[in-house]
Every structure is written in structure tokens, then in C-alpha cells.
């Protein structure tokens, strides 16, 4: 096809061709190239995201044996204190006072001391709930305290306190009073509070034991 010889006609045709080319180009860019490029950008972004996730995932997966071992050790440490050494006071038939009295009286008996009275100092309403909380900031332990009254000399008291404290590094004498007895100079009126940690949820230790067993199998 030849262009017309008339310059004005030829310019018109060339302009129309130019406009048509621009139009086709615009349509091709808008409906072909642009979505294709956008899709490629999105794919590339997803690839970068996946590569990052896989890198982090690999690191996390590599940590499984290390964390499993460390968790096992931590659980063993807690369970040893709670279940083996019983240094976290555990109830007997739901009764903490029985266990606490038994501990104090056995140490006093060994020193030939006679305990006058052992009473609970914390009201029953403050006693633990049954469920294990999932809140990581909630305390796992709460104090349980008894008040012990007896009459003895200061040296005997030191022996009794030493026996209790050396037996359990988690118990604490939180209050102690010694008043002289003018009638019996060798024996004073003694009263002291002993505090033990107890599980906030009594089933917590059972849960930890189950977790420990399951982790040990995986190791």
C-alpha cells in the first residue's frame, strides 16, 4: 500500500497510524503487561516472604532437640524439688496442716522438744484453685504458713530452726518471737511462723510430670 502523494493527506494518515499505535500500546500495557508485572512483583514478594519463613523455620526446627533437652532438665529440677524431695509442701488428703505439723513435730522430737501448738496462719479462702492457669505471668506458687508455739531455750530453738532450714531451702521463718520467762530462765516462750511454697494449682505438678514423660520419649 502506498501513502497518498498529497502531503496533507499523508500527514493525516500517519497521525491516525500513530494514534492507533499509541492506543494499541496503551491497551496492551494496561491489560497485558501491567497485570503481568504486578503478578510477578507479588510472586517475587511471596518468594522473599517464604524464603524468610523457611530460614526462620529451619532455625526453629534446629532448636527442637536443644529446647527439648533443656525443658526436660528444667522439669526434672522442678519435679525433684516438688515430688522427690517434697520441698514444695504437698497436701495429704487435701490437708496441708497435717503435713506441716508432721514436719515440725518430727524435727522437734529428734531434739526432745515439745511443741505446744501448730496453727494455720492463712485463711482457707486463700487456698489454691484446682485448675492450672495458662497465664504465663500468673504466679505458680503461693505461701502456706503455720504458727508454731513451744517453750524452749535459745540454743534448742537454734537447733530446731537449723533442722527445719537445712532440711528444706524453700521454707522460711517469716516471724519469730522469743519472750523471757522469769519463772524458768532456761526456757522461753517461743512462737514462730514457717512459710512453705505450695502449688497455686495442685494439679500443676501432675501436668509437669506428664509433660516430662512425653518430652523424654521424644529425646
Amino acid at each position: 500500500m502506498k501513502l497518498p502523494t498529497d502531503k496533507a493527506e499523508r500527514t493525516k494518515i500517519l497521525m491516525i497510524i500513530g494514534i492507533a499505535v499509541i492506543g494499541v500500546g496503551y491497551v496492551a500495557y494496561s491489560f497485558g503487561l501491567s497485570p503481568l508485572l504486578a503478578k510477578q512483583r507479588a510472586t517475587s514478594a511471596r518468594i522473599t516472604e517464604l524464603e524468610d519463613l523457611l530460614w526462620r523455620g529451619k532455625n526453629d526446627i534446629n532448636m527442637i532437640p536443644i529446647n527439648l533437652k533443656q525443658n526436660c532438665e528444667t522439669l526434672e529440677q522442678i519435679l525433684d524439688i516438688s515430688e522427690v524431695k517434697r520441698q514444695i509442701l504437698r497436701p495429704s488428703l487435701g490437708n496441708y496442716l497435717l503435713v506441716a505439723s508432721d514436719i515440725v513435730e518430727s524435727r522437734a522430737d529428734a531434739l526432745n522438744l515439745k511443741i505446744d501448738k501448730i496453727n494455720e496462719t492463712i485463711a482457707r479462702k486463700n487456698m489454691p484453685r484446682t485448675g492450672v492457669t495458662t497465664n504465663p505471668n500468673a504466679p505458680r506458687f503461693m505461701p502456706y504458713a503455720v504458727n508454731v508455739s513451744l517453750a524452749c531455750g535459745l540454743a534448742d530453738l537454734v537447733q530446731l530452726v537449723r533442722a527445719l532450714e537445712e532440711d528444706n531451702p524453700y521454707l522460711c521463718i517469716t516471724r519469730l518471737g522469743v519472750i523471757e520467762n522469769t519463772q524458768t530462765p532456761e526456757s522461753h516462750a517461743v512462737s514462730f511462723d514457717i512459710q512453705w511454697p505450695i502449688w497455686n494449682a495442685p494439679t500443676h505438678s501432675i501436668q509437669l510430670a506428664a509433660e516430662h514423660l512425653s518430652d523424654k520419649e521424644k529425646l
Binding site: T43, E51, G57, L75, R140, F141, E165, T174, I179
Partner: protein, 209 residues
């Protein structure tokens, strides 16, 4: 005078240059579509390769994700159990071994002094206990002494108590909180009563918390 005769009409005129609009348009008409086709082909190929890589990565992530979730769960459990162990440890570090402190009192008390009352108290309210506990104790010792050098006995007792190895580092301050004449009916002229107060440092120490 020069004379130029132009016998070619404008329509018949041709450019002598090798590069002219017509030749450029012809070259362009071949090269441009070729370039566009190559670019489109390149884009399509790149798109196919990217999509294939994406599929590979998606499938790898699909198999790794459950394991990673398991690892995160384990890490959370470990953190929780370590917090439990730390809380338990605070129960140990917040206490004072009172048998050592009582022995220190017995060892440092001069024979000229008669202790009448000893009280150890924690400043924490037992009705609203916290875990892990932070404890701050005070030991109060009341006693009697006699003689012209009574004040000296009390001061000496205080000094020996605060320098005893069992109290060093854990006692914040030892002070004679009260000293005066014994006003009881049976008291003599030189009989004195006193009270020594020992303030213990807060436990566990701030740095170990």
C-alpha cells in the same frame, strides 16, 4: 551571476543520505515488533520460572510449617517452665537462715546483758502474699543491763553484732533504737533497758531479681 535550474518536482526529490525517514520506518517496523516479542517472551519465561519456584517453596513451607509450630510451642513451654523454676528459686534466695542469725546473737551478747525479748518480723503482709516473694526482715532485741558502763556494754554488743560474719553483707543497719533507765519497781539505780534493731537487706537483692 550564476543560474540554477531545478527540473525535479518536490514529489520526485529523494534524499541522498542512507538514513532517512522511510528507511528508519522500515527498520523500526521490523526491529520494534521483534523486540516487543522478545520482551514478552522473556517476561513470560521469567513468570513461569518464578511461578515454578513459588510452587517449590510453598510445598517446602507446607511440610516445614507444622514442625516450626511444634518448635514454637515447645519454646513457649520451655519459657513457662523456666519462669516456674526462677519463681521457685526466688523462694530460696528471699529467705534468711535464721539459725545463723540467732547463733550470732548468742555469740555476740556479752554476759553483762540479759535479753528479755527477741522479735523477728517480715515487712510483707502475710494476708496478701506474693509469689515470688520479696522479703525484708527486721530483728528487734530487747534486753537489760546494769552498771555505770551499761551504755558501753550495749554499744559493744551492737558493734559485735554488726561485724559478726553471719550478719555481714545481709544486714543493712544495726542501731540502738532505745536506751534508758529501767523503770520497773525492782530496778536499781544503774539498771538500764535497751532495744537493738537490725534492718536486713531486701531479698532477693534487686540485681538478682
Amino acid at each position: 551571476m550564476s543560474l540554477s535550474v531545478d527540473l525535479i518536482t518536490p514529489e520526485e526529490r529523494r534524499s541522498a543520505s542512507a538514513i532517512n525517514v522511510k528507511s528508519l520506518s522500515r527498520i523500526g517496523a521490523i526491529i520494534l515488533p521483534t523486540l516487543i516479542i522478545f520482551a514478552m517472551g522473556h517476561l513470560a519465561l521469567k513468570g513461569m520460572l518464578t511461578s515454578s519456584r513459588l510452587r517449590v517453596l510453598e510445598s517446602r513451607w507446607e511440610s516445614a510449617e507444622p514442625k516450626q509450630k511444634q518448635s514454637l510451642k515447645l519454646s513457649k513451654r520451655l519459657h513457662y517452665n523456666m519462669q516456674t523454676a526462677t519463681e521457685l528459686d526466688a523462694w530460696k534466695t528471699s529467705r534468711i537462715e535464721w539459725h545463723q542469725q540467732l547463733r550470732a546473737v548468742m555469740e555476740t551478747a556479752p554476759t553483762s546483758i540479759q535479753a528479755t525479748m527477741l522479735v523477728i518480723a517480715a515487712n510483707r503482709n502475710a494476708a496478701a502474699p506474693a509469689s515470688p516473694p520479696t522479703r525484708k526482715f527486721t530483728l528487734n532485741l530487747e534486753g537489760k543491763t546494769s552498771g555505770e558502763r551499761a551504755m558501753l556494754f550495749v554499744e559493744s554488743f551492737k558493734h559485735r553484732l554488726e561485724t559478726h560474719p553471719a550478719t555481714t553483707g545481709i544486714v543493712e543497719a544495726v542501731a540502738v533504737a532505745n536506751y534508758g533507765a529501767d523503770i520497773s519497781t525492782s530496778a536499781g539505780e544503774f539498771d538500764r533497758v535497751f532495744r537493738i534493731e537490725c534492718q536486713y537487706r531486701k531479698r532477693p537483692e534487686e540485681t538478682t531479681q
